[in-house]
């Protein structure tokens, strides 16, 4: 049954209905075509054997049970986890420290901000290339520095034990500025009268840090924590450029495996299954983010 234009609704609301639909038409066509449909299609492909040249054939959960026993995927998962656990807390602590230092009357703050934010502007390819050169075993600056102070030169990205850490150091350099700017914004949002009141009460610097600054930074900290974990779990470009996942499998990551399986070995069904695992991890983290961040702030 079609609902007739409702007299009770009135022309203004009807206008809004129509305008709303027209406004979202273009964005939603693109959005449904290039985000929603591929998402459903990817979930379907993860249950198939698909090599692109032939049509996908349904195999149920075979890809997933194979994933569980796949040593390379497990290595990729562990590498990604180590990378995340190493990069996220380190850059957060450093960023918070720098933000606290910069959140004072400081001359040349613009220059400092530019310096710390510059790495954020680089792509993982650009930063990867620059650090590849700095890590170069022969003429790279890091080994030259090592030699000039009498330390033995290292093979960095070519050493299975150092490769992942080398990539992580680059990532910390690259992410620090972004995290710092968020912390700085949160610090500047703390009402100054709280500090003034505690001054009257005779609080010292450390009191103020522990009972005003840090508690009020909690939402920003949580936001940064979860979003950094999410982006760290998707690490790919830097690994692709700097190590190609090597030496051996020392630096291969989940997304790197998705890329290799999907577009090098044309195991697109298997790659989709790996992507679904990544999706589950990221979806869970995002939900936690929403749950904690939104409790006070209505979405609807």
């Amino acid at each position: 049954m079609r609902i007739k234009p409702n007299k009770k609704v009135g022309p203004v609301v009807r206008d809004q209905h129509r305008a709303g639909l027209i406004f979202v038409l273009m964005p939603m066509i693109l959005f449904l075509t290039f985000a929603v449909y591929p998402m459903i299609y990817a979930s379907y492909l993860s249950l198939t054997d698909f090599s692109f040249t032939k049509a996908p054939s349904f195999v149920g959960f075979a890809n997933f049970s194979r994933l569980i026993g796949d040593d390379i995927f497990r290595t990729a998962f562990i590498n990604t986890t180590i990378y995340t656990l190493g990069v996220v807390p380190t850059s957060m602590v450093l960023a918070l420290f720098l933000a606290l230092l910069l959140n004072q009357k400081i001359r040349g703050i613009t220059l400092f901000r530019i310096a710390f934010y510059m790495p954020v502007l680089t792509s993982s390819i650009v930063s990867g290339m620059i650090w590849l050169w700095m890590y170069a075993p022969g003429a790279g600056i890091i080994n030259q520095l090592f030699e000039s102070v009498g330390l033995p030169p290292q093979r960095w990205l070519f050493d299975p034990n150092l490769a992942l850490i080398s990539v992580m150091i680059m990532a910390i350099w690259k992410n620090l500025g972004y995290t710092m700017v968020i912390f700085l914004a949160a610090l500047q949002g703390i009402p100054i009268h709280l500090y003034e009141a505690s001054d009257i009460d005779g609080a010292n610097f450390r009191n103020k840090l522990w009972s005003i600054t840090l508690p009020l930074l909690k939402p920003a900290t949580f936001f940064v924590f979860v979003t950094s974990i999410i982006s760290a779990f998707q690490v790919f470009g830097s690994v692709f450029v700097m190590t190609k996942g090597g030496p051996g499998y020392a630096t291969t990551t989940i997304v790197h495996q998705i890329y290799l399986n999907g577009f090098r070995y044309l195991r697109m069904g298997y790659a989709s299954a790996e992507a679904v695992i990544l999706f589950v991890v990221i979806f869970a983290l995002s939900l936690i983010n929403w749950r904690f961040l939104r409790s006070d702030d209505e979405i609807w």
Binding site: V12, D15, Q16, A19, G20, L21, V24, M26, L30, F31, F34, A35, V36, P38, M39, Y41, L45, F52, L98, L101, I106, L111, R113, I114, A115, Y117, M118, L121, T122, S123, S124, I125, V126, S127, M129, I130, W133, A136, I141, W173, Y178, V181, I182, A185, A186, G189, A220, F223, F236, G237, F240, V241, V255, Y259, G262, A275, L278, F279, I282, F283
Partner: protein
């Protein structure tokens, strides 16, 4: 008199301690700042020296041998002008698409009630949590079989579709759920009285959007624009999948040309890297405020 003296010396001591912490603070910050910038300096220095002079660096030899040959080599070697053009088109088109479509959808979701708006918005929220890598395979298959493009027939068979074309590069990046969400949240934070007043005066919904809401959402639009441009300019994963030749190759991919299995041409590579990063650096230095405010805005709103 006596007490005054004591007081003076006390505050002098305080001043000394204050000065010391000040010096330490600036010293530390400068050290940290310099170490952030060092990789860029190394990039520039390497790009401005002939390849045979990479080792045994002295400042004097650097200044006396400054030359641009690496830039010339990079520009000629790798059809860099084509890559630059492709990257610019990709970034500008993505920015225009994400800002205009994001603004429209964000306004509709934030202010207008229409049939199906809740379901559609839930879809936006869900897709926001999808890692883009999950969409790589389906998007590739879809664009390969795009009907009537790149030699394909109506059913999407026969040719290469939109693979290795600028439309194929751009299309999936025209709308992002993040953009819609950011614009909706920002729209929600604006007062609705202005729009209501205009409605009473007889303004249509399009007039209200264009003349009243759009100017008010400018901070969010600038933020979204900067993010969209930066993301597209720096994008690597999607071009890696979709671009197979200079037709649609971007700068980020083009840099790979200088890397060989055994020998990397560091000079031209660093020149190419400098060319790639320069536009964003310039935009950042002149629009620093917008970047910083944008990060803060998304940190608190989105």
């Amino acid at each position: 008199m006596y007490t005054k003296l004591v007081n003076n010396s006390k505050s002098g001591l305080g001043r000394k301690a204050k000065l010391l912490t000040r010096v330490l603070l600036y010293g530390f910050l400068m050290l940290a700042g310099i170490s952030m910038v060092v990789p860029f300096v190394i990039m520039l220095i390497t790009s401005l020296r002939p390849n045979y002079q990479l080792t045994n660096f002295t400042f004097y030899s650097f200044l006396s041998n400054l030359n641009w040959s690496n830039y010339v080599a990079a520009w000629q070697r790798a059809s860099f002008s084509q890559y630059t053009l492709n990257t610019t088109i990709y970034a500008v088109a993505s920015t225009i698409g994400q800002v205009s479509l994001g603004a429209m959808a964000g306004y509709a979701f934030g202010r207008l009630k229409f049939r199906g708006c809740n379901i559609l918005f839930v879809l936006v929220l869900i897709t926001m949590m999808i890692p883009f890598q999950m969409l790589l395979v389906p998007l590739f298959v879809m664009l390969r079989h795009w009907p009537l493009a790149g030699g394909n027939d109506l059913l999407g068979a026969g040719g290469k579709g939109l693979i290795d074309s600028l439309p194929g590069l751009i299309l999936p990046n025209l709308v992002t759920p993040f953009g819609i969400f950011l614009m909706r949240q920002f729209t929600l934070s604006l007062p609705s009285e202005l729009a209501d007043a205009a409605r009473i005066d007889g303004a249509g919904e399009f007039q209200i959007f264009y003349k009243i809401m759009l100017p008010l959402t400018k901070p969010a639009l600038v933020t979204l624009g900067i993010f969209a441009f930066q993301e597209a300019w720096n994008d690597f994963t999607w071009p890696l999948i979709i671009s197979t030749s200079a037709n649609s190759r971007t700068l980020q991919l083009g840099l790979q040309v200088f890397r060989d299995q055994d020998l990397t041409d560091w000079g031209p590579l660093m020149a190419g890297t400098a060319i790639t990063v320069l536009p964003l650096l310039l935009i950042f230095i002149f629009g620093q405020r917008y970047f910083v405010e944008g990060v803060a805005l998304t940190g608190t709103k989105a």
